[in-house]
Symmetry: C2
Subunit: 173 residues, 2 copies
């Protein structure tokens, strides 16, 4: 079976996870990788536009709605019993054709993690706070830190992608 | 392997396919079925809301973006080489856990079809026009027609669901 490559970008809320993820995705795409992105949402998220046909089919009760065109495919799938599927199940089902999956959130999982840190947001890190998280691989920070993992500048998508490539992608490509 | 049940709702544009589909989906859900809906879009459809995190990840270049919550899962997946996957491939990949898939469009396929007809829209039917389409099973019409397949009133979702159930779902449930 193909090796799963999952890297989680974690941070305290409001630190700028999505901004860094955008940069890392763009950089990895430029390097020729097929990239998956998986985001957890703690709330009831909205997707699709009110009154569009696809929206109407979901509203009518479709358990799974797929809309497809030459360019892309989109799906909205209700979870049976309001139970979220396991993240590994999601990766194995929907991300079989990418080189790696970058996740936003899922900080409770044991995937290798890159934590985003901003000094204004918090003094200490999520993965080096009350508990020591051994899955932390690197930090993207806007201040100098003295730590047991490599520290990259918060805007250094190239450096972070070199790190991801070196660590996870050399052996699969 | 599980039997695929696919029924296509077809019509000339502007006849009200989506409205009928909504009613059929709601009725089948009420009868306890798990229902899939698959829509083809000839254009570049929009899904997701500008500037939401999930939208930003797709815009940044993610080949597959999945957002998940307790309630539902949504995915936006770019087609490699701008080539639409085959509809059977889509059904086998994404609709394994439903009792039937109702498709909107895909009129060129050989799935069993229900055609929606409105006298104001057109005098003749898509499936009984220049060519005789043997996959036509029934018609939902707003006028009396004399044809070789059963005719239901365009608002008779119950009758159409009885027909679908009788024809396709008795043997799988």
């Amino acid at each position: 079976m193909k090796k799963r490559v999952i890297v989680s970008i974690v941070a305290k809320s409001g630190t700028g996870k999505t901004t860094l993820l955008e940069k890392i995705i763009a950089e990895l795409k430029q390097r020729g990788y097929r990239v998956g992105a998986l985001k957890h949402d703690a709330h009831r998220f909205d997707i699709d536009h009110r009154n569009k046909d696809s929206w109407r089919l979901t509203q009518a009760g479709a358990d799974t709605m797929v809309i497809t065109s030459k360019e892309k495919l989109a799906m909205v799938k209700m979870n049976p019993n309001n139970e979220e599927p396991d993240v590994i199940e999601i990766v194995d089902r929907y991300f079989t054709d990418v080189h790696l999956v970058l996740t936003e959130g899922f900080k409770g999982n044991t995937f290798p993690k890159i934590e985003v840190h901003r000094k204004e947001r918090s003094q200490n890190l999520l993965c080096r706070g009350e508990t020591y998280d051994p899955t932390l691989l690197a930090v993207a920070s806007d201040e100098h830190l003295d730590m047991d993992v490599p520290i990259y500048d918060i805007n250094d998508a190239q450096g972070l992608c070199d790190f991801i490539e070196e660590r996870f992608l050399r052996q699969v490509s």
